[in-house]
Symmetry: C2
Subunit: 365 residues, 2 copies
């Protein structure tokens, strides 16, 4: 076994999920993530944690959903009981075919997601962490050779997370103290309120309310969004390509939209429910180990010099006690590059210009 | 997809497990059983049943057990809750390496099995069915080419189960009415009491208290075993080869034993607990579609012209209400050929001679 796989498992179990002896851990294993699952099992065994592996296969889900009549039991009790009692859920993605469920009708997928909203909720109430094992399919999606892609994944994942957490703490402080964010970039001029919201220093650990490995972003839950945003980073959403999605917001709600590519899937997302037309997340990428777009949200949204916004559900960690955030069955991220001429302001002060933070070398004062 | 995989899934879901709409189904997927799992998911989708897939990988279990210090939580609540609430558990074996966990110390494996006895119990309380997808590793273990092995598996599995159930009903009636069974064969002269026990017509369906696909046997839970038995069929037990195991019973308990090969694993089995030294099962193979030994208990024990005995746990289905059968954390089957010169008698009447039942052509009266 590549020693980096074991190191990945150690970072996941120790730094990210903070697994303790006796913890009840669900490990969700994608079709191509077997080797990482073996390394994670080894580390969980060393830790004295309990292990139950769920097989999280796109091909199985596709077959099930396509064969179904579209009527689903709401939150089957046995699955709910599993996730409600779990301490941690570690999701190991690693697709063997990123288009593996491309032919599942969107309404079928939506109905299934809606019927399982309680199970999703229970999973998100655990110390969950999502990570990804490098597969050839993911390398292909990135347009990269397999070995080069492995290097990319481990460069982004096996980082000095404590050092990054310290840098991110600066941005968190600015956002926590701020009331309004303005984003200006090519095709984008957007304002959002973040007045009472809490920014998350997403340092790839549940100890930071951060649930992705790799992470490397600071995110919050905006509201009252006004203006236009263009997402120039090409992405795959629910198995289909989207490019240059443009959203227009009034009073927090999407009132107009367009896309160069993938209009159908964006329409499906927007029509999921009421909350799908509002933003659930503003995220600011800070992982400089992610040095290119690889058509993979887990990595792309963390890239230093990008900003992402998610349609749908807000994370509880961004909300003060007693405040309800945006609710939805979906959470779909879209990304825009903060390139030359861009700026990110908080209450009128420039925090990032031309993709560089004001504490970084080269920032134009 | 090979149409026989879909047919296998239909037999499993419809005939064997009798899945109804809304049933909560756990599908346990072995490393090499992916294609069958996809077909089963499709059939469950058509049926309107609920699906949760568990990844049942030997390599994951091996890594976990080897890394552990040998102290395991007793029946972790989250896993217990899943199986206690499930209606059916479909186990799809299909190994990619039948020696995949051969280097796990026996005491580690035993401690793990003991700590999870309640989970096992909960699983056996569902409408569970075990079946197997043909893999190259299983073909190798059988000493067969892959394509020939696929044919073997489907010949044994895709049978006229209703017709076989009728034939087996004859033997069930004889055993239900009988008090004592005597087995005589090369190296074997054994008597067992079956006085108040119930024989199971194992026709590969939960409707017949039968939980294997393929099945094709009639089995019961003997006691008060006396005499000697030699298991001439070579087998793999817990990843290790055993051959010509000889057990001597007095008053139902193994008092002496020997083996040409695999003595260590037999000793481990026998020392698991008190019940591991008593018989939990007498099974009589009746599946004529299984026409050769393939070093695989699921098929070997069903072969027409063989008899198997299991050390350890008895199945509840064989016991009248209020009678406790043999209890153990293990259930290890061993097989003997009923060849020329052999006979199986019930209360002194010959039921099978030279491997042929008395209702079969060629039986010597």
């Amino acid at each position: 076994m590549d020693e980096r796989i074991r190191e990945h498992a150690r970072v996941l179990v120790d730094w990210s999920a903070r697994i303790d002896p006796g913890d009840d851990v669900v490990v969700r294993v994608d079709e191509g993530a077997h080797d990482l699952a073996v390394a994670v099992a080894e580390r969980l065994g060393e830790c004295g944690a309990n292990l139950l592996s769920v097989y999280d296969s796109d091909e199985i889900t596709r077959a099930y959903l396509r064969a179904s009549d579209g009527e689903f039991t709401t939150d089957p009790e046995y699955a709910l009981a599993l996730y409600e009692r779990a301490d941690s859920v570690l999701s190991l993605s690693g697709s063997n075919n990123t288009a593996g469920s491309a032919d599942v009708p969107g309404d079928r997928r939506q109905a299934y997601a809606k019927a399982r909203a309680g199970i999703r909720e229970a999973r998100l109430d655990t110390d969950w962490v999502s990570t990804q094992h490098p597969t050839r399919a993911m390398a292909q999606q990135a347009g990269m050779a397999y070995e080069a892609y492995e290097d990319f994944v481990y460069d982004a994942t096996l980082r000095d997370w404590e050092a990054l957490a310290e840098e991110q703490a600066r941005l968190k402080e600015i956002l926590d103290d701020g009331s309004e964010v303005q984003l200006v970039a090519d095709g984008t001029d957007l304002t959002m309120s973040i007045a009472d919201r809490i920014a998350v220093n997403s340092a790839a650990s549940v100890a930071y309310d951060s649930h992705n490995l790799p992470s490397g972003e600071v995110f919050t839950a905006p509201e009252a969004t006004e203006g236009v945003v263009t997402f120039d980073v090409p992405m795959t959403v629910q198995g289909r390509r989207v490019r240059d999605v443009e959203l227009t917001f009034e009073d927090g709600v999407v009132v107009d939209w367009d896309a160069e590519q993938g209009a159908a899937v964006i329409e499906e997302v927007l029509s999921t429910d009421e909350g799908a037309r509002r933003l659930g997340e503003l995220g600011i990428g800070m992982n400089r180990g992610v040095d290119r777009v690889t058509d993979n949200i887990l990595f792309d949204e963390k890239m230093g010099g990008t900003v992402h916004l998610a349609l749908g559900r807000a994370y509880d960690a961004c909300l003060p006690d007693g405040v309800a955030g945006n609710d939805s069955a979906v959470h779909e991220d879209l990304i825009t590059t903060m390139g030359d001429g861009s700026r990110l302001e908080v209450d009128g002060a420039v925090v990032q210009r031309d993709g560089l933070f004001r504490w970084e070398d080269g920032f134009e004062r």
